[in-house]
Subunit: 145 residues, 2 copies
DNA sequence: AAAACACCCTGTTCCTACTTCAGGGTCAAG
DNA sequence: CTTGACCCTGAAGTAGGAACAGGGTGTTTT
């Protein structure tokens, strides 16, 4: 199949496929006489694997690692477990951080329900006061992450 | 104060300050005879405001909007409310998406507790099978977001 | 046959919010 | 007079592609 069909079947864009090839994630296919890329079902499986890992939030280096490990079935799979553990940890910390963030935003939003002018807007005053350094620990907290 | 001290007091890097100035977020300070930037407490307040908004997950365009609104205290503050509402919505959706992601990762991780080889690794097989299209809705789901 | 249209190619630039680097100037201390 | 800490500008790099420029190919329609 040609790149357009692979893109449709792999639910991604043509540019993304060429990008993966350039990055060495997707095996380079043979070319037709006219220079068009000619893909097989194996390429589709590879692409789906990559897209699935991406949908799980993995970065390209992690996926590269998995692809390399795939070709060495005799090795211990500890490395795969570690990789997943670190992914889980990363996602978990993101969630924790975002939950705190949502609370802060809701609290801020709650300070202005009435229709008023910017000069009287409690939200903006809260933002400015927090910026003055007192009473807002979130600033420094997020700084370190 | 010079840029190094502003950076220390604003808890960010010197480069970030110069970047904000180039982006028009932070007012350009006067220069000393030697060309060094000379900052005032007003600049520190501006920087803290920017950093605080950043720590709340806002992008530079949003912060630019707020900074512009600050200079028009007579306008209605509806726009500020809308801006915050959309921030909250964005963060909320991120959390929802990440929670689903964490569940998927944990489920995947749970399929391999034993020490085995990559050839037998249930995680990798799960990833490959999911990539084959059957039984994994998450792939297409994340695609649309 | 010519034109329109869909598809393909390479290569380059753009996006966020910075960080890092190259190459150099300034200033106080030892 | 040299060392080290600070400052300057401007360009390039980061992740993961998206978008565009400029051109070739293949089928269909006129």
């Amino acid at each position: 199949m040609k790149i357009g069909e692979l893109a449709k079947r792999g639910i991604c864009s043509v540019e993304t496929i060429r990008f993966y090839e350039k990055e060495g994630l997707l095996e380079a296919p043979t070319r037709n006489d006219n220079g068009y890329r000619q893909y097989t079902n194996s390429h589709l499986a590879q692409l789906n694997f990559i897209r699935h890992c991406r949908s799980l939030g993995m970065g390209l280096p992690e996926i590269r690692t998995l692809r390399t490990l795939q070709t060495h079935p005799e090795l211990a799979c500890d490395e795969i477990n570690h990789l997943l553990d670190s992914q889980i940890e990363r996602v978990h910390q993101q969630i924790t951080s975002l939950r705190l963030l949502e609370q802060q935003l809701r609290s801020l939003r709650g300070s202005c329900h009435a229709n008023t002018t910017i000069g009287n807007c409690a939200i903006l005053r809260n933002l400015e006061q927090a910026a003055d350094g007192e009473g807002c620990p979130c600033h420094a907290v997020h700084e370190k992450s």
